[in-house]
Symmetry: C2
Subunit: 434 residues, 2 copies
Amino acid sequence: MKIAVIGGTRGLGEWIARFLKSKGFDITVTGRDEIAGERVSKKLGVNYTCSNTIAASQADIIIVSVPIDVTSSAIKEVAPVMKKGSLIMDVTSVKEEPSRIMQEYVPHDVEVLPIHPMFGPRIRSLDGQVIVVTPTNRGKWYNKVYNFFEKENARIIVTTPEIHDQMMSVVQGLTHLAYISIAATIEKLDVDIKESRNFASPIYDLMVDMIARIVAQNPYLYYSIQTHNKYTKKTHETFISIYKELNEMISSGNEEGFVKVMGSAAKHMDDLEAALGRSDKAISALTEEVNILKGSIGKEVGLRHIYSGKVHIGILKGLSPDFLTLEINGKKTKLKLSNVEILSDKEIYDLKVENYPHKTYFVSAVFPENCSPDIIVNTIEGLKGVIYASVDDMYHGSQIPSGKISITIKYEVINPDARFDVENLLKGFGAVIR
Amino acid sequence: MKIAVIGGTRGLGEWIARFLKSKGFDITVTGRDEIAGERVSKKLGVNYTCSNTIAASQADIIIVSVPIDVTSSAIKEVAPVMKKGSLIMDVTSVKEEPSRIMQEYVPHDVEVLPIHPMFGPRIRSLDGQVIVVTPTNRGKWYNKVYNFFEKENARIIVTTPEIHDQMMSVVQGLTHLAYISIAATIEKLDVDIKESRNFASPIYDLMVDMIARIVAQNPYLYYSIQTHNKYTKKTHETFISIYKELNEMISSGNEEGFVKVMGSAAKHMDDLEAALGRSDKAISALTEEVNILKGSIGKEVGLRHIYSGKVHIGILKGLSPDFLTLEINGKKTKLKLSNVEILSDKEIYDLKVENYPHKTYFVSAVFPENCSPDIIVNTIEGLKGVIYASVDDMYHGSQIPSGKISITIKYEVINPDARFDVENLLKGFGAVIR
């Protein structure tokens, strides 16, 4: 099956091309920048053409993944040349406009499926990710795509383009603009964010982090999410009028009015108790982490970088609010606290097993004949630093006293010192090492 | 030392009375509601009087902990009757107004110390809690109070009432009003919050939880936080004008202007990378939890209620987005997911050790004479379900073959089945159980 990803040379488009290529599809990406196109073509092993119409005329599925402002024109360009019986999808974060244009411009017998993947190009798989699907007609392609997403364990929401856009005017439109405005207000009032964090609770800290998260995004994308959704206007106007109304209530001493608005809004929320519990847990996960580290100074800790996945195991030497210092093989490494997560003892051990060189040793010892070799090797395997143990040989011979048996045990360790523990264990139970 | 807590019969005032009583101070609480007063007096073992002036005239320290609107009148009532050399503090969430009134109304030689504890009455200790202190003069009391907080491991911020109030107009004033307005907008637009969560990312989920957290608070308190801080007016006006400006940029197609505001606000944030990392970690802590539970269906899990601390250990039978079902001793219990946290294997084990009945057993076995009893008891202690093991007796007698020794080991288990493991271990190494 041939899939053309229009705008597949970067961002989400590139991610889609890579993902579908890994699933075995024949992929062609397009994009205006020929250098980027050749690079992606080589990197992902996909075809590249700078011509949207060439790619479109040969494809069974077209996925339009270009910035919102040029989505309509890209659709108008590719739709008319599509093959009979093919499918066109777009992945824009608004759905009404692209949906209408796709339906208008595709030839008869081409299926239209507007979708909104609610994730960015940093994810590794579709597992657990939300994809909103707004089918206009549910043909054979709809079922195929739906089944594909389902097999990938995505969370699929099927709705109409209208409901999607109304919902998004709140989920994205309102929250983005409110957060950007809070950040801009803090800037305008010249409040020092870092100082303000000192004054406040962990809840405020997390709020500020969420605000920072939003304003750190691509402002061009955030602008187009606002402008291409016809419902955001009403949402913003409603918000402004409510905020102004509350502010006036405060100025004029209208306590009753304020209490009524706040109480009524609270009643409309879905489950206040659950919200409290979840946010408490999110916050305690962050404080807990700092507490664990405080108690681990001078001890071995294992840390994983939350984005790269790189693991650092070493002795924790220092801890400041933002950084920590690990000593690894006598060398000090400074890591940013917010970028690493603490590994459990089991994870550290498993990683050591995986990454440290294993050494194999043999030990022969004389046991009473009525012993159980299985129990002996299991007990050895339970020692710290021992990965594996097995019976290599059992020997009844002239050198072995009667009523006794010599057992040779083969075992692997990650730390050669574990040899002493193995030998001490055997001697401790009265075995004689040969 | 006698401490009067004005308004000590409920909320934070009651918390302060309980806390200081536990530290050994002689506490008198006041409050208009005599029934509540008698109840608190009995519950906490403190004195109660409905007369603020009686309490104030006898106290070495007065702590004013009444709602903001009546703080000024309470101060005016108690300040004039205070003893020479005493201290007056207030714990209101604004500082300029009470600070000014306390200074104006106290007799000569009374020290004034306005503070703002940044926590509610749900906390258990001052450890790690933020307390903002805005001393107007730093006398002998200031040092005493500072040292007390320091010993309790509180995070103390010393600043002026003005800076405190300016900061709070953002930290509380702006964030509260923005969140309340978002919630009220969602209500007005009749958006179904639960449905909107389906459409969105875990980040949005956490945002909604934070909004719910704010609107679930006491609206009278939130109103007074707004009205008693003279800086909130300017903050709200700035916010409204920025929001309107951004909305106009969106309507009029002023992409450049929008991008500039958002980019500049982003630059003013303290550390975008850290904010991203921390919020990613907070979110992954929540998703991680669900993943662990999904993998634990049919297995034993331990859960702790995040508020009551109550622990439930049982077999996980079912998991829905909001609830989970545990089977404990054959009985099914339904728990709200947002209210419980998962215990680690080590925590479950420690709890079992603490709460399950312990059984003591003895085992006597014959070992080679050259064995090491220490190693044997350590190995037994390492077995699952065994809490403790020790050598009870060692015996060389006529019944014991030469070259052998009989050792009696005493051990405690939480699960009687562990006895078989102990005996199998000893037999496995060739010992003969007597």
